[in-house]
Amino acid sequence: MPEFYFESLSAFWQMGGYALFVWLSFGSTYGLLAALWWFSQRSQSRILQDLAKKQQREHRVRAQQQLEEEHNESKT
């Protein structure tokens, strides 16, 4: 098992003077990856709901059309 390389936690954060570049890299990488996952997950969990709503709307429209047809038939 490899040992912890830095002498202290503050030395770890300073990254031998390269803190800005190292943390910028790791931060942007995992930020971007997390955003990609979040967006993909969101569209996946929303799509079935959206499709269900669409179906309900279709049902409603069809029901309404049928009602109107019945109404027109009873008129004539």
Partner: protein, 265 residues
């Protein structure tokens, strides 16, 4: 010859397989990336020339390798879609493209953050950097083209064509460090000789490469599922799935209207 592959091209089967695989792939990807990052950041010695700035390698190299790996798989899918007219291959192109674009962006950004302290500049118009930037534009082109036509079929075909043609960029990226004089260093591990990196630094890097591959596979599964549902939304099996999601209470205002609408059918 391709008979054993046939069932996998059926959208419904593929949807279920991807759903089965996604949680495992994602868990493994997160664990591997976490291990690689912790190991690479805290448990490897510093480089004798570059100090601690070299630790960026543990995300830069995996992202760069799989930015090209993702492009190859996307191009293969595009080729299959163009030649054999397999629908799911076409949808896979659209599923992979954004992942590849993000990987490429990561490779470029981490490269810039590494180049500034080591080369003294964020960016140079050098062969490796420029060809990798072109890769990003290719990805963006594939994404943009698929939505650029009123006819969705035509847009899909155009983006698949661009994906296939763009493959010429891959060898250019890989050999750019040999063909031209460049600031970028040559291959360290993707060559046919012994890797020129110490084993203590190699292992977290290998884990990183594995992690980015797993993440690519996992996110492809996830995005492909969405694409399958979107494109198959008028098929009975998707309609059933959507109804089931209503019954499970995912749609709040659902039930009343459904019984009301039930008369209509």
């Amino acid at each position: 010859m391709f008979k054993w592959l046939d069932p996998y091209a059926k959208p419904e089967t593929l949807y279920r397989i991807c759903g089965l695989w996604f949680p495992w792939l994602m868990t493994l990807a997160v664990l591997t990336l976490l291990l690689s990052t912790v190991w690479g950041l805290g448990f490897t010695p510093a480089d004798y020339q570059q100090g601690d700035s070299y630790r960026i390698i543990h995300i830069h190299v995996p992202a760069a390798i799989w930015s090209m790996g993702a492009y190859s798989s996307m191009a293969i899918a595009a080729f299959i879609a163009l030649v054999w007219q397999i629908k799911v291959a076409q949808w896979a192109v659209g599923a992979i493209a954004p992942i590849g674009a993000v990987y490429t962006l990561i490779a470029l950004l981490t490269g810039m953050a590494w180049g500034k302290p080591m080369w003294g500049t964020w960016w140079v118009w050098d062969a490796r950097l420029t060809s990798e930037l072109i890769l990003l534009f290719l990805y963006l082109g594939v994404i943009a083209l698929s939505g650029a036509f009123a006819d969705r079929q035509l847009g899909a075909k155009a983006s698949a064509l661009l994906a296939v043609v763009g493959v010429v960029n891959l060898p250019i990226i890989h050999f750019s460090v040999e063909w031209w004089n460049t600031l970028h260093q040559g291959a360290t591990i993707t060559k046919f000789a012994k890797p020129s990196i110490d084993p203590s630094m190699l292992w977290p890097l290998v884990l990183g490469i594995l992690g980015f591959a797993l993440l690519l596979a996992a996110l492809t599964c996830l995005r492909l599922r969405t694409a399958i549902l979107l494109n198959e939304q008028h098929r009975p099996w998707v309609r059933t799935l959507a109804q089931q999601s209503v019954q499970q209470g995912h749609v709040q205002q659902g039930n009343v209207q459904q019984t009301k609408a039930g008369r209509g059918v």
